[in-house]
């Protein structure tokens, strides 16, 4: 059975938004923990780091003046002006499910709707430290439940394919952003105290939920180069950039008219494979990630143009 272009578009975005909500919840939670552990005087770029990950400074500045904890957390958790806030992402995911529920397992709508109601009711109250952790945990586990539901019940055909594409695209995007901003904050910090390095890099892996995998595969000591290398290239961990790109290629294969999209995804994967993190300055890492982000944008465009936009048809009268 085939699928409407419009539906493919909405499923792709439902999936991106769910992944975005989960990711935002993860790095917000990890950063909150980190801040509690850091000795006073360690300057990590403060709460602004979280806004930088979302590349959302202009939007933030429109509505807030100071990058303090209260403002940043409200912006990330509850603010509907921020397209990457948890509240907005969940709302948008729900809207997309509402219009595609006919192709999804029956329970999907019910779960996403419940998640939306919970988020709407609790977001504003969860900005403060007291309820924040519990709220973020709820968001993460409910998103995981919905993903689990989809992955264990959906037929492996078009709906699954576009959901997976959305999920992997968003994850590759978010992972590279977190590495970019995280590495920047760690490497460029003032009063650089090497004793804190392990703590900081561990925290970054934590926010990508990659810390235990790293310890198993690489070892207990978290060091900059192996950490970046791991999160970029590890073949077996679903959070890594290489894993996402391979998954994207896999899902593009069975689609018609896939040449452009596959071309871009392959170039991106080649570039990633060739990148050697050793002896690179932060500036070089940042440049690499910038270029890599352009590939992701192009890939998103290619997917949109090939499968989502109305197909040009035979000329019709008027």
């Amino acid at each position: 059975m085939t699928m409407l272009s419009r539906v493919a578009d909405r499923l792709y975005w439902m999936s991106r938004y769910l992944e975005r909500a989960e990711n935002t919840a993860r790095f917000t939670s990890a950063y909150t923990h980190l801040i509690l552990d850091l000795p006073r005087g360690t300057e990590l770029g403060g709460w602004q780091v979280l806004v930088d990950i979302l590349d959302a400074e202009p939007v933030f500045k429109k509505h807030y003046r100071v990058f303090n904890e209260q403002n940043v957390l409200r912006f990330l958790i509850a603010d509907l002006n921020n397209f990457s806030s948890i509240n907005y992402a969940i709302k948008a995911a729900r809207e997309n499910v509402r219009t595609t529920r006919d192709v999804l397992p029956e329970e999907t709508w019910e779960h996403v709707n419940e998640l939306h109601i919970m988020c709407k009711d609790m977001a504003e109250k969860s900005v403060g430290r007291r309820h924040r952790y519990e709220f973020l945990e709820q968001i993460i586990s409910r998103c995981q439940m919905i993903n689990g539901l989809l992955m264990t019940t959906l037929c492996r055909d078009h709906p699954h394919r576009f959901i997976k594409l959305g999920h992997l695209m968003e994850r590759a995007d978010m992972t590279t952003r977190i590495v970019d901003v995280g590495a920047g904050a760690i490497l460029e910090r003032e009063n650089n105290n090497p004793a804190e390095d392990t703590l900081l890099w561990s925290s970054m892996l934590q926010s990508l939920s990659a810390i235990s995998a790293y310890r198993q595969k690489i070892g207990p000591l978290v060091e900059p180069d192996p950490a970046v290398n791991f999160i970029f290239k590890e073949q077996t961990l679903p959070r890594t950039v290489a894993f996402c790109l391979k998954g994207i290629l896999e899902e593009l294969q069975p689609l018609k008219n896939n040449e452009t999209a596959i071309g871009i995804a392959e170039s991106a994967l080649r570039k990633l494979t060739r990148f050697d993190v050793k002896k690179k300055s932060y500036e070089e890492l940042h440049q690499f990630i910038d270029q890599f982000q352009i590939y992701l944008c192009d890939l998103d465009d290619a997917i949109t143009n090939t499968w989502f936009l109305p197909i040009p048809t035979e000329p019709q009268e008027a």
């Binding site: 085939t2 699928m3 409407l4 272009s5 419009r6 539906v7 493919a8 509402r98 219009t99 529920r101 006919d102 192709v103 029956e106 709508w109 019910e110 709707n113 419940e114 109601i117 078009h158 576009f162 689609l255 018609k256 499968w307 109305p310 197909i311 048809t313 035979e314 019709q316 009268e317 008027a318």
Partner: protein, 482 residues
Amino acid sequence: MNKSWKSYDSGSFFDELLTSTGNPRLAARGIMNFLRNLPGGELEERRAAAELAIRDMGISFTVYTEGGNIDRSWPFDIIPRAISAKEWHRVSTGLKQRSRALNCFIDDVYNKQKILKDGLIPADIVLESTNYKPQCQGVSPRYGAWAHICGSDLVRNKDGKFYVLEDNLRVPSGVSYMLENREITKRVLPELFENYSIMPVDDYPTQLYKTLASLSPQQNRKPCIAVLTPGIYNSAYFEHAFLAQSMGAELVEGSDLFTDDDDCVYMRTVDGPVRVDVIYRRIDEDFIDPEVFREDSKLGVPGIMRAWKAGNLAIANAPGSGVADDKVIYAYVPEMIRYYLKEEPLMESVKTYLCMLEKDREYVLKNLDKLVVKPANESGGYGMMVGPHASAEKRREFAKLIEENPRNYIAQPTLSLSTAPTCIDHKVEPRHLDLRPFILQGKDVWVTPGGLTRVAMVKGSLVVNSSQGGGSKDTWIVESNK
């Protein structure tokens, strides 16, 4: 006995669950015994549970207001309405008969027009009706079936008999709520199902699929069926999605479809264009094809009428079906049954005064305080006047409307709609209700076991439409042979 029932009194109205002496009717015995013996406060707990279930299931409908559209939760009353299977058998037989006659009529009007030539119905009321679409002249859909999905509104009068109030042949809605109501009842009153034999309702999507599939122009392959919705802002969008999902059909909007030079309709998909065989349209026919009907329609598909006329596409309900969904035509349905089927009508109709006829009009104008006046082709309870409840000013306004445009108005005696126990603010009170069964007609005719019971939540009110504050109840057809 639970105290919330103590003061229950349905007065002179027919009550669906209780007899005039306050004893449960046969079909309602199990429900009443259970509810009356619930410990105090538990009815309220169950009601709250139902509310939560509705919220979680995301059952909603959209209400248009000045401040934009609001997605409102579906108002549901947990006390089911019960009808005996024996009585239902009679009703459904009558409804099938009615549906067959109505379809014969539509097919006749768009082809030979025998009934008009024979003078049973004045030709001008049919041919000058806005619901008559000359663009459909000469088309013969399969099995002579035009109104494939019909939602007939029934009310039970003081005499205990069911009357057909109107037949909705254009795009009747509400069936998904019938199905969801049963789901909720199963969740919140599961004990009731143990000792009862209640006819299941969840067969509807299968029956609808069968009906639609039987219309496909390409009978040698699995038909491609699409539900055409005006989109997410339509009040019944929830239902469109629900039906598409439960039939495994595509839910499409106008922009998902196009008509090609071969006069076939295609969907835009990720694999390229795919041909559609049957469209279940939930868009008013005026909007389905800007080439033929309203040019400004953004909801429709240019060329879809070409495809339909060429026989490359089935549309349910067929465009033009609304010609029989006119309150003036309603008055002639008993005649149609005699004319086309050579049978006597099995269902009662309500006495209808046609304001276009001088004698009727005189009577109506003299008796406005006793009658219900309705515009001939509005639905959703809009633009009507309930005489006994209307102010003198309102009645004068309607008298003027009738004199200005008599063809547009009909009047009927005010029926005493039956009541049923309904939870209102921790108590149980009688509220008026109606019933909308759905009749499917393709190769075969099929009627839902029961239908959607709509209840006016406001005390004394007769307006049950959800757009105007109505609620609904689960409807049980009960086998009572024990």
